[in-house]
């Protein structure tokens, strides 16, 4: 791709970008949210047309007006949000649109056979017969990759493929990618996580503000050098907790024998007891799906607590309405910003005022005080660096990272919370944004609030929490204060072993 330029209304998304990738290479493309990585890949996959520049694939200059054209050229894309039909089987999803036929009829056996063959050839284990809705996220991703391979892709674009994966699934994915590269496939890998970029890629291209800052051989660089290139600053103040200065105060939150059901009616949280003190960040580590989500939802009033007490600042709050819990001083950054953290069709200001519109000053008996709401929203997006063209556009138009910043701005902006429940607060966010959010959480703690940090990202837990518990199978194991041995202890506890 040479000299690619793409102008969006008000934004130069790609500015004279050159990207040259060799066959069989794994190329990581890193950069902040909105640096133009995704736009560049969308141009390559035919979802956008470049205003200027040329694309050459295997020596031929091509135009790619549509995804169909991209597929014909052997370019495949695995999107961040999977595009699978949940009620179809794995095999049906793979062949969808290119079904093997016998006469007019879909040839199910042949489809299964071909999918099986393909999955063996590349070592992507899937069961062709199960429905996609019944398989794990990692397996769904393998189905997506198989879909691309089935269409004879030899250039594979992966947009933040690890964002939804657990650690072990990530390892598996990397093994698969290496095998694919060995077989001559070219892999373009968009990511935020430098550790993963360093682990998997041959070369790394850094983008910033729509331009390519540089391309480096991954084996000859360090995370520090990359993050400096990404941010464009000499030094990066990495958010790290100064644990010597912490003096935990009175308990802000106490859980006593709390049990919670999940959506299927199974016990997801089993008699959990824990305390969060003022001024303290308690990290809850663990593989996702071990009850963290249900725990967070029970504390914030979204899910009934079937047993036990939840005490906030000395008052019982279990099973109170959400609004009362929020008014008692709880802020909640949910794990799923799309489904819960915002209404994507609502405007930016409508999302920002959702927890406070009813307070005096923001509305009267009936009418909303629009001036006040808009000026408050404006200062929030200023303070939290939410990049949006206007307050009046649907939140859908924001990039993923900016959506998350919007959620954080709403929850932490008012600054009155005594307890912050933060679930995966930095997932899918760029480095600067991640630093900002972590600093914000530490700031809250230093002002005496308690922070409950639920994260599947061990680095995050280790970077900012004071004390750690691990959730496994609905129970918590206390790891204690964070020190040099914490990582190992967490690792063991995450698999259910005794600490």
């Amino acid at each position: 791709m040479l000299g690619i330029t793409k102008q969006f209304p008000g934004v130069l998304a790609n500015d004279d970008v050159d990207l040259i990738v060799q066959k069989g290479e794994i190329r990581a493309i890193v950069g902040e949210n909105g640096a133009g990585k995704t736009t560049l890949m969308r141009i390559l996959y035919g979802l956008e047309m470049a205003d200027q520049g040329a694309i050459r694939v295997k020596g031929h200059t091509v135009t790619i007006p549509s995804a169909r054209a991209a597929i014909a050229l052997g370019i495949g894309m695995v999107h961040q949000h999977f595009r699978l039909v949940p009620s179809f089987t794995v095999a049906e999803n793979v062949v969808l649109g290119m079904e093997p036929r016998q006469g007019m009829v879909y040839d199910e056996d042949k489809a299964k056979e071909e999918v099986q063959e393909l999955s063996e050839q590349y070592g992507l284990t899937v069961d062709p017969d199960v429905r996609v809705m019944d398989v794990s996220v990692g397996e769904q991703q393998r189905v997506e990759i198989l879909r691309a391979l089935f269409r004879k892709a030899d250039i594979l674009i992966l947009d933040e493929p690890t964002a939804v994966l657990t650690d072990s699934e990530t390892h598996e994915l990397f093994a698969i990618l290496r095998r694919l590269a060995q077989k001559g496939l070219t892999i373009l890998f968009i990511s935020h996580k430098l550790r993963e970029v360093l682990a998997i890629s041959d070369n790394t291209t850094v983008m910033r503000d729509g331009r390519v800052v540089g391309t480096v051989k991954t084996s000859e660089t360090t995370a520090r050098e990359l993050s400096e290139m990404i941010i464009g600053r000499e030094t990066l103040e990495s958010a790290q907790r100064d644990r010597s200065a912490i003096e935990p105060g009175e308990p802000v939150l106490e859980l006593q024998d709390v049990s919670v059901y999940d959506v299927r009616g199974l016990l997801a949280v089993k008699s959990v007891s824990l305390e969060v003190h003022g001024g303290e960040i308690l990290g809850v580590a663990g593989v996702e799906g071990n009850g963290q989500l249900e725990l967070a939802e029970a504390i914030t009033g979204l899910r009934p607590c079937v047993q036990g007490r939840i005490v906030l600042l000395g008052k019982d709050i279990q099973n109170l309405p959400v609004r009362q819990i929020r008014e008692a001083g709880v802020a909640h950054i949910p794990a799923d910003r799309h489904a819960m953290g915002m209404a994507v069709d609502a405007l930016v200001w409508e999302n920002l005022c959702a927890t406070r519109y009813h307070e005096p000053g923001f509305s009267g008996r009936m009418a909303l005080a629009m001036d006040r709401i808009l000026s408050e929203s404006d200062s929030l997006i200023e303070e939290f660096d939410v990049r949006t063209p206007t307050l009046q556009c649907p939140a859908r138009n924001l990039s993923g990272g900016n959506m998350q910043k919007l959620v954080v701005a709403r929850e932490l902006g008012p600054g009155q919370a005594r307890l912050v429940v933060a679930a995966q607060p930095t997932r899918g966010i760029d480095i600067a944004g991640t630093e900002a959010i972590r600093n914000m959480l530490m700031d809250y703690a230093s002002r005496g609030a308690g922070v409950l940090l639920l994260s599947a990202d061990l680095d995050e837990i280790l970077a900012i929490s004071d004390r750690v518990v691990v959730m496994y199978g609905g129970r918590v194991a206390d790891i204690g204060r964070v020190d040099a041995s914490t990582r190992d202890k967490i690792g063991r506890a995450m698999t259910g072993a005794e600490v």
Partner: protein
Amino acid sequence: MNRHTDTEVGTETTQVQRMLPAIVLQLMNYVLILLLALAIGALIIASSGKDPLTAYAALFHGAFGSRMAVANTLDRSTVMILAGLAAVFAFSTSVRNLGIEGQLYAGAFVAAWVGFGIQALPAPLHIALAFVLSAVAGAAWSLVPILLRTRWGVDEIVPSLMFNYIAIHFTAYLVAFPFKSDTTILPGTDPINATAKLPRLMRGSPLNVGFALALVLVFVVYWFLFRTKQGYELRMVGMNPRFAAYAGLPVKRSALMGMLLSGAMAGIGGASLILGFFGRFITQFSQGYGWDGIVISLLAKNNPIAVIPAALFYAGLANGSLEMQSATQVPITLVSTIKGVIMFLVTAQFFLRYLSKRYPQWA
């Protein structure tokens, strides 16, 4: 990506400038849809051996061709606007109210009852009372389906739909027996008193103050939905109920309120026809206006203001098709075909996708 430098709030003009292209895009979308639908209709007319152009000329003439035609179209649009608002209320709260037709009947019957049952009240009071009680009746008729949902999680689609039949047949029973009037051979109530009749706006046309009321309600509904606390709650619950629950909004209360307001609006719509046009309740008075309302809100993309042009368009088609039939023998049902094609194209966003690709800077 870089933030605009001109994003400061309060600069209304820049916001309008930014909104304008999106509106132009939508308008182009609708114009193209209309042209394609008319073209398909023309093919059908031509295939039956008639001249499409004369038929369409008659259609347009019947709808908007004279002062009288325009007045009649405005009159016809009154109930359509109100039914459209009813649907807007329901769908912006994601309450699937398929009972608008029945709520129309409930409101209409109560309006007639108040109209003939109460004597010697000053006209403004009498009219106001009739409208208020018909709104209550429409809301009451929507109560059971929505309570089934908020209390027991029963999907409101089927119950609200079934309540249409109860309303239609129960009112038919009422006018056939307890309220049977000797003044008409049709099954209907006694005529309403003069004090309950909506004043006409134009000599020779049924156009009456009901139309003005509908216009006022359009702006009230707009204000309510977009500028009040309760309206905000309604819309957030409609857009993402999980988000609304998470933020602490009253989800169930909002669903209940959305449905009741929808029913009330439908009740007022029914009353406008009785007090403004028929002068008494008769069976089968509504020609599916409740269903028109649902389609109109779809055309209007749930925007109360856009309900006005959508309803005018529908009313124009209804009135124009009558003249088309009498002048050119092209049957009224052709208009249903055109409506069907339009519905199809609107829901499929047929041209919109093409247009926003062609003019990405406007999307």
